[in-house]
Symmetry: C2
Subunit: 417 residues, 2 copies
Amino acid sequence: MAKKLKIGLFGFGCVGQGLHYVLNNSTGFKADIVKIAVKDKTKERSVSKDLITFDKYEILNNPEIDVIVELIDDAEEAFNIVSEALKKGKHVVTANKKMLAIHLEELYELQIKNNVSLLYEASAGGSIPIIRTLEEYFDNEELEKVSGIFNGTTNYILTKTINEKLSYAVALKQAQEKGFAETDPTNDVEGYDPKFKAVIIALHAFGLIIKPEEVLNLGITTLHENDIKYASEKDYKIKLTPVIQRLPNDKVGVLVAPRFVKETNQLFNVENEFNGVIVEGKFSGEQFLQGKGAGSYPTGAAVLSDISALSHGYKYEYKKHVQKHASNFTNDVIVNVYFRYNSLIDLNKIEFDEISEKYNGGDYNYIVGKVNLQTLLNNRDYILKNKLFISLVNDTISLKAKKAEATVNKEKQLINN
Amino acid sequence: MAKKLKIGLFGFGCVGQGLHYVLNNSTGFKADIVKIAVKDKTKERSVSKDLITFDKYEILNNPEIDVIVELIDDAEEAFNIVSEALKKGKHVVTANKKMLAIHLEELYELQIKNNVSLLYEASAGGSIPIIRTLEEYFDNEELEKVSGIFNGTTNYILTKTINEKLSYAVALKQAQEKGFAETDPTNDVEGYDPKFKAVIIALHAFGLIIKPEEVLNLGITTLHENDIKYASEKDYKIKLTPVIQRLPNDKVGVLVAPRFVKETNQLFNVENEFNGVIVEGKFSGEQFLQGKGAGSYPTGAAVLSDISALSHGYKYEYKKHVQKHASNFTNDVIVNVYFRYNSLIDLNKIEFDEISEKYNGGDYNYIVGKVNLQTLLNNRDYILKNKLFISLVNDTISLKAKKAEATVNKEKQLINN
């Protein structure tokens, strides 16, 4: 039988309180939160003052505590806490995707070196058990692609702007009121949050350790009603979707960007704060998982599930990483995108390899075509600054195909005409 | 690191060949099939004759073999093989839902007694890792309901008859040609197969060991075009869905029956041979998982996933059963159904507690209302024999509410008028 764990909790915000509630209202699993470390000394809290501490070492140095649960916002302070806990031989559960993505390699090595377990199911996919499923169920299968909707906040905003025709500002405000979006929504709306999650998932799906700064994240801040109109006319919805795809020669391409999604795609009906993940396996075909991507209880339940797994001695084995699956991350790949631009300067700056559609309407101009992912990454700031908008038109990343010079010239002519 | 397993395989049909192919074409995981036991001595096979045996003891008594993989059709012979293997201290992987459902208690005890592992992810939900997810991820959470589409064959037939207006006979023939349906499709079309799966899932979701014969299974053999027309007019699709639901007082209700599914339900878009499972948790909310429910490679991949888990020492802990979750199975519950009948005799035989809709059109008569599940179970043969059709109108099972005698009498009047 599993032993009853003693938990030291860092952070008592939305998820921390959710965990506290779920733990105290679960019939199946019992564990005690023996201490909660928080920052703000003035805040009123719903738990006994005896439980609260402002000194992290009251938890880190307490030999009675088996498990550290880290649920604070600050990624760097979180890393200090988590790495110190691991070094002290304590198991850790965290939901901090930013910390994980930035320090993935160090955290992987700290686990091995100190023979401890670090679990983080709640960091990606909300209540969807995606990491566990990749680690334990698809460990023996070569995966082709993992894609999906990993951010409840932007999905909520996109649902409201596209289905209900709310303005971006109103939709964002609603998301904030519902507790899905933070006061500073940059992490979500610029696609950092889903990128951190994509980086974590890339490790469990393909064995890849990549730095977040190597991965392109385009968000929805420059979305214009013309883009929504374009998508609607073609019966597309716009979703912010990370794509992690295996390519020939053990290469893997990763990006996060808005995408036009057709009705036939599973993600089309993933609405509001829900998340959805599509896992494409060589043999098992297409798997789809959907669940709540935000909220106090769903995330609290995901954290508790990790705590329960710890009580049974569970640790990630990082099987794909150990097996050295597809280990060559590359941005030298081609993606198919819709690109709304302002002037020819933009088109000369962001050079397309191939153009299949072109529209020039004065105030509203776009092209659809193939572009190198590295080109987009190099020009990310330019795109944001000039309020240009990029959306994938499908979820396929491909290796660059060399084209005849003549074709390229012909396309340049097309652009300049 | 995991050790390389030596596998003794029973059966080399659709799934056995799928496993053989998937195993030999996986890069991540290596295991050897050292012997394959088959029945038919005359059949030509795609593997070396040295691998084949007609004597089960060549596998069962081979000390070199670590894992028995049982993939034969015959449930009783499968039970003989599996129970003998477990007694000999060998781990077993099986996909045989009928055997599992019938012998669940014995197989549970054999594992404990002999300290061996029996895994069967491929037995339910096709390539969806539902058992593992329930066992490892929702072990600490109180679940409210598990429902879904667990049978690829009937879902294929229903998709073709409802969306493409094919006749039942033509759709069944197509399913057989595609290898989804067997020559004798009774197990699928009468709902036995999804019932066996529901029985297995009830153990991992609620800790319940129930006998298949205690559970109602209504199938799609009596589906008439009038039923399809009724559903279509209301924008419903008809799906064959098991429902396993927690009720007050630790009770659980289980049944398998056709159901009218609205567009807002996740199962609406689960088409053809796909399976879908909805897991409703107290805290995590609604989870949805979809994947291929039939086919040689997807099922082979699910079996391989179990073999891989075995190589890491995995065994089910039956946590909900050990925790004695909701342990009172009951058929004394109310379900809301559409009931197409022929004559008043049918209505007097199958007595409804409440009627909300009534149509009498000579050749086509139906009522919609509440009926006791036990009443339906008692009259299952009568329903089939008289080609009556029952469809759930929602997925909610409720405990019986006592009604005033007057109301009952009024309804009896309504029926007889």
